[in-house]
Amino acid sequence: MSITELLFWGLSVLALFSAIMVVTSKSPVHSILFLIVVFFAISGHYILMNAQFLAIVNIIVYAGAIMVLFLFVVMLMNLNAESEPKKNRLIQFAGLISGGCLFLVFISAITKSASANNLLQMGGGNFGLIKNLGMSLFKDYLIPFEISSVLFLSAMIGAVVIGKKES
């Protein structure tokens, strides 16, 4: 086994373990902390694929900003096992079925897709480097990129508008 493979398996085990802990841990704060670990493990995978920019941006945006806000809200609301409302049996059952359906769709999508069969080259390839990424974003996919940025801007303005209405 090469060192890349060792890292790959280590990171995969870490990511899966923490992802399971996100769902199963009782305290919401613990769930969030495990989710942060998941993001770090995924960033590690990106680095193995030589996509450094993606890895760092994943940490800055998800682990550094979004999760801080999650933690912020959970800490303010002081959620814990006691204050959690009792869940209806029927709702739990419905959740199980819909989650299972989603899982099936994912499995079939992954096994049927063409790109799943040719595995990404580890450590090699320089597509993820920032220069190539910028080139393809601002040359090949310029219009979708700009449209998505307008979408984000409108989401931001929408949040401000909703916030203003409350007060």
Binding site: V29, L33, F53, A63, F72, L129
Partner: protein
């Protein structure tokens, strides 16, 4: 063949890592001494002068005192998170030193050794990521304390850091447009041959400096530990070396952000008015390191000078400054920089 790695390379990097971590700890230690001396001078006092000549052993005495103090963990807190908090604060504070170029290459044992732990090509983004992770130490610790004042301090720290990170990021974008690279090493090389970036980005530097003060939780932005409203702020419940870690992490953060500012805007290890290529490589690396440290000491002095001169902001003033002043200014700076670069590239004249 399992794990084929160049052994000399590993040793070289390990030695570098140990040196950088030890150096940041020692510098942070003596920054506490410097802070007390500067405060004393500004307030017309003598400052610490009992332990050793000029009180030079004071930080050692303080450290020993913290180690021997009784360790108290509150009853209703999550023990693991309570210990994780200060550890995270310390870890994230030290990590940013990994991508800083401390000097040029040195030639030793027939090897060219670069005085930088990792020259990743997204260096500045790495620093940014580590800085944004720094708030977790404070948030986790404050929540695990199970104390309302601590929690208030932690929430203040989080909202402050998120607000100022935006302006900091935008001011960095303007700098990146000028340099065209994300690698800290390349930025320094560019500044060695050309002018320092401060001349291209004066407004960007000012915004970055203010945000650095806010990210380090230093006065006038130390709302998270405002002792007259929050008892002690986020570390109210902490004692012994865990408290020491929080206080220490602040000084390491100050050191690291001084290094980053010196590297980004003031040429890093560049010695002004001197062409390094004409002299011996090893000596120049040493002098370059000394030049970097001189710049860093100036910045640390600035941090302390401001702390003992300017009073703390009120919370609404802090948020207004971040959102209504710094972010529009940073956006304006970015637009201006982009427009100038565009004019220059296309040779447009007015």
């Amino acid at each position: 063949m399992l794990l084929a790695i160049d052994l000399a390379f590993i040793i070289e990097k390990l030695v570098l890592i140990v040196i950088v971590v030890m150096a940041s700890l020692v510098i942070a230690m003596y920054a506490t001494y410097g802070e007390r001396k500067i405060a004393a001078i500004l307030q017309d006092r003598r400052g610490p002068n009992r332990a050793g000549p000029f009180g030079i052993l004071q930080p050692v005495a303080d450290g020993l005192k913290l180690f021997f103090k009784e360790e108290i963990i509150p009853d209703f807190s999550s023990k693991f998170l309570f210990i994780l908090g200060p550890s995270m604060a310390m870890l994230t504070a030290i990590m940013a030193g990994a991508v800083v170029p401390w000097g040029n290459q040195i030639h030793f044992f027939n090897r060219d050794i670069s005085l930088q732990i990792a020259d990743v090509n997204v260096g500045i983004l790495f620093v940014f990521a580590v800085v944004s992770m720094g708030v977790y130490g404070i948030m986790i610790g404050s929540w695990a304390s199970n104390n309302k004042y601590s929690l208030m301090g932690g929430l203040r720290a989080a909202s402050q850091i998120i607000s100022y990170e935006l302006a900091m990021g935008i001011s960095l974008i303007a700098l990146l447009m000028v340099t065209g690279t994300l690698s800290l090493k390349e930025m320094v090389v560019q500044q060695q041959t050309g002018y320092w970036n401060i001349f291209y980005q004066p407004l960007g530097f000012l915004i970055f400096l203010i945000c650095a003060f806010a990210e380090c939780n230093r006065t006038p932005f130390d709302l998270a530990e405002a002792e007259n409203e929050l008892i002690g702020g986020y570390h109210t419940e902490y004692s012994s070396m865990k408290l020491g870690f929080y206080l220490f992490a602040e000084y390491i953060n100050m050191f690291v952000s001084s290094v980053i500012m010196a590297t980004l805007f003031f040429g890093g290890y560049d010695i002004p008015f001197l062409n390094e290529a004409n002299y011996d490589q090893n000596w120049m690396a040493l002098f370059g390191l000394m030049a970097l440290m001189t710049k860093v000491v100036c910045f640390i002095f600035l941090f302390m000078w401001v702390r003992w001169t300017i009073p703390r902001f009120r919370y609404d003033q802090l948020m207004n400054l971040g959102w209504r002043v710094l972010i529009p200014l940073a956006l304006f700076n970015m637009l201006l920089t982009g427009a100038l670069i565009l004019f220059k590239q296309n040779n447009w004249h007015f």
